[in-house]
């Protein structure tokens, strides 16, 4: 049993970095079992191929541009996922969609993929997220943690002092 939680996005474009910030927060909030790997994917592409190969579960945390009210938390699963990547709801999924297509070709797609994201307020240049989106980070963390636990991965909350 092997799972990856992958935060993607560009941390120099304000809310674009929410996926990366959420995966960092997940790592601070919980101790992961050995079967779970947390990855700050940034805007990478093929470099991720090895890490995402033959997974039982891939959880993607990302910015999602879906025409919703900014700050809305969105979760996608099943048939919605290919549409998510094909329609470029994610501003930088070009790299990740190539990785997933290559994995498909190799017969090594993750058995299950989930996407959790937030509709951004701003994609302007900057290292800080907008307050509306930053407030949603704990929700993304809990969604990812709950998804892992529901599939039998045993997470333990990190001691308060270490968060």
């Amino acid at each position: 049993m092997r799972a990856v939680v992958l935060g993607i996005g560009n941390i120099i474009l304000s809310d674009e970095g929410v996926g990366v910030r959420a995966v960092e927060a997940l790592g601070r909030g919980y101790r992961m079992p050995e079967s779970v790997t947390l990855i700050d994917g940034g805007t990478s592409g093929m470099e991720l191929l090895d890490d995402l190969s033959g997974l039982d579960l891939l959880v993607v945390l990302d910015t999602i541009v879906a025409g919703k009210v900014p700050g809305t938390v969105i979760s996608l699963a099943g048939d919605e996922i290919p549409v998510f990547f094909r329609k470029k709801l994610s501003p930088h999924q070009i790299g990740l969609s190539d990785v997933l297509a290559s994995l498909e070709l190799l017969g090594a797609l993750p058995a299950e993929t989930l996407v959790f994201g937030v509709q951004p307020v701003s994609l302007e240049l900057g290292m800080e997220m907008s307050p509306v989106v930053a407030e949603r980070v704990p929700e993304l963390v809990e969604l990812a943690a709950a998804a892992l636990r529901a599939r039998g991965y045993e997470l333990t909350p990190a001691p308060a002092g270490q968060r």
Partner: protein
């Protein structure tokens, strides 16, 4: 006259738009336009120079490590620092492994399908394909079993109704010339390359601490302590694992990649006549071998107008021939300078002024860099030609070997002049890859040897003086000469400019209205069908465009994958 617009043109980081005017089946005029604004320099102002590398490696998802290393080199240059030998070797191994990853992925996964017809491969006889493959090289996976497996896998994939990653290819295009067997062989190697590229990535992970974003670079060296027992540091055991990955890469590069590029070159020999463009070639030396960064494993310099005799070397990070030659203009870019230009990067300004796309005015978010007032091509071709001009033996060995193999396969003598072309850039990238995998082995030996001598130093602490200092770091990155220029005042960043390879190549016309390398390389390219401008993709992809670092910021919600407009 037909106007063709392709937007975006890249398979990765798609923010480049190319326009061509086509008349009589040929490109008459071309425009290269960066479609996003980059302002990463503005984020860096006022920050601690020791943090710049971590931020600049976020400019681009493809080129993370190259910006990290170039940034620390710039700050070290400003402080006139020395870097411990172990740190040089470790950084060298990281950037060489990264470059090999980039070259393999570029050829097989981002550009081979401009030349290879995947659907034609379905018609191939797998056994004949294996015979052909075995006649070309003794690679262990060129056998019948492997070719049958590839054929079966491709058939299932296509019959499943989903072309997946192959969806947007121009299959059946009249410019596709390979036989079904050669196409199948290429698909087999495409799949094998997906496996092989992992070895390069593993090396970056082991030495860089983490991939895709390396963690171990620091102004003054690297942050990994060497050879203690802890998991978190580089042990001899982990370094030995690196050697196995190097050997696997070497096998594939010498027995597969070299042969495949030569075969594509031979079968598409007419493409050695197209795509030369700007033939002023600029590269920088790299793979520093001493603590001061004055001795490098391979040379770099400048060649004017494809004359190897005009070669002039760039010798050190601070070499004035280099630092005084670079300027950037904005006459055709969506920026304004306070007092006109062009400007030296130390004086660079980043003040946007968006107009619309104006054929004769401003039409790109890229600035237009020049070397002593001239446009210059950077990248593998520039690198290899400068190496040849400098009599660098490994370049001679692999260039001669490649041209001989192409000549044999094409049944005609193919000389060095063929390198100034679309195909020549692929050949040069492969030659560069072969040189780099040899260097990777060398650097690994140097590191192990130095550790065996008892030298465990990896870091010198930087000290920032009061007042202003300036520095420049360069790196011969996969796509060519990358430089970061930093002005530091009282220990804080006062100005920061990145002059990236794709800016040199994808730039708009300069202040004298001379076209940039992409634009010039498209002139006179044949266009069989303006609705399917495969030939434009061939020439542009041969540069390995990746312009996320040239420009940044997207506002493209929900648009379709690629727009091709022929008017």
């Amino acid at each position: 006259m037909t106007r063709v617009t392709i937007d975006p043109i890249t398979r990765i980081e798609g923010h480049l738009r190319i326009d061509v005017d086509v008349d009589g089946g040929r490109v008459k005029k071309a425009w290269s336009s960066g479609q996003m604004w980059r302002g990463v320099e503005l984020i860096l102002l006022g920050r601690d120079p020791r943090d710049a590398w971590a931020i600049t490696q976020r400019i681009c998802g493809v080129c993370t490590t190259v910006h990290a290393v170039t940034s620390v080199r710039a700050v070290e240059n400003a402080l006139q620092m020395e870097v411990p030998l172990n740190a040089q070797y470790i950084r060298n191994i990281i950037i060489l492994a990264h470059s090999i990853h980039d070259f393999i992925v570029h050829f097989y996964h981002l550009s081979a399908l401009d030349w290879v017809d995947v659907t034609s491969a379905l018609k191939a006889d797998p056994d004949k394909t294996a015979s052909l493959a075995e006649s070309l090289s003794n690679w262990s996976l060129n056998n019948k079993h492997e070719m049958r497996k590839t054929h079966e896998r491709l058939k299932n994939f296509v019959n499943g109704g989903q072309l997946g990653i192959f969806t947007n290819g121009y299959w059946g295009h009249p410019a596709m010339k390979l036989s079904p067997e050669v196409n199948l062989l290429a698909v087999a190697h495409y799949l094998q390359a997906l496996e092989v590229q992992r070895h390069a990535n593993k090396i970056v992970s082991i030495l860089g601490g983490k991939s895709p974003h390396i963690q171990n670079v620091a102004v003054g060296g690297v942050a990994n302590p060497l050879a203690t027992d802890s998991q978190a540091v580089l042990t001899v055991e982990r370094l030995l694992a690196v050697k196995e990955h190097i050997d696997a890469l070497n096998d594939f590069i010498k027995n597969v990649y070299m042969v495949d590029v030569a075969a594509v070159g031979a079968f598409y020999a007419d493409w050695t006549k197209y795509g030369a463009g700007v033939t002023n070639y600029l590269s920088v030396p790299d793979i520093p071998l001493d603590t001061k960064g004055t001795k490098f494993a391979f040379p770099g310099g400048y060649i004017a107008n494809k004359d190897l005799g005009s070669y002039k070397a760039i010798k050190t990070f601070g070499d004035e021939f280099w630092t005084k030659g670079v300027e950037e203009g904005v006459k055709h870019s969506w920026y304004d300078y306070n007092k006109g230009g062009p400007l030296h990067p130390f004086k660079g300004e980043t003040k946007p002024n968006y107009t619309d796309f104006k054929d004769d005015g401003k039409y790109s978010w890229l600035k237009s860099p020049t070397f002593y007032g001239k446009p210059a091509q950077v990248g593998p071709l520039a690198r290899v030609l400068n190496m040849l001009a400098a009599d660098y033996a490994p370049a001679k060995k692999y260039a001669t070997g490649t041209l001989d193999l192409v000549s044999t396969l094409a049944h005609t003598k193919v000389g060095l002049d063929a390198m100034h072309s679309t195909i020549g850039r692929h050949a040069a990238r492969m030659i560069s890859c072969a040189i780099n995998v040899d260097l990777l082995g060398d650097q690994w030996n140097l590191l192990m040897g130095n550790i065996a001598k008892g030298d465990m130093a990896t870091f010198n602490k930087p000290v920032f003086p009061k007042g202003e200092v300036m520095g420049v770091g360069f790196h011969e990155a996969p796509r060519g000469a990358l430089s970061h220029w930093v002005v530091i005042d009282d220990g804080k960043i006062k100005n920061y400019q990145c002059v990236v390879p794709s800016t040199w190549n994808a730039c708009p016309r300069n202040d004298k209205d001379e076209p940039g390398p992409y634009e010039a390389s498209l002139l006179d390219n044949p266009i069989a069908d303006p609705e399917k401008p495969l030939e434009v993709l061939r020439t542009i992809h041969s540069f390995d465009p990746c312009i996320a670092c040239a420009i940044h910021l997207t506002d493209k919600e929900n648009d379709t994958a690629v727009t091709v407009k022929a008017v």
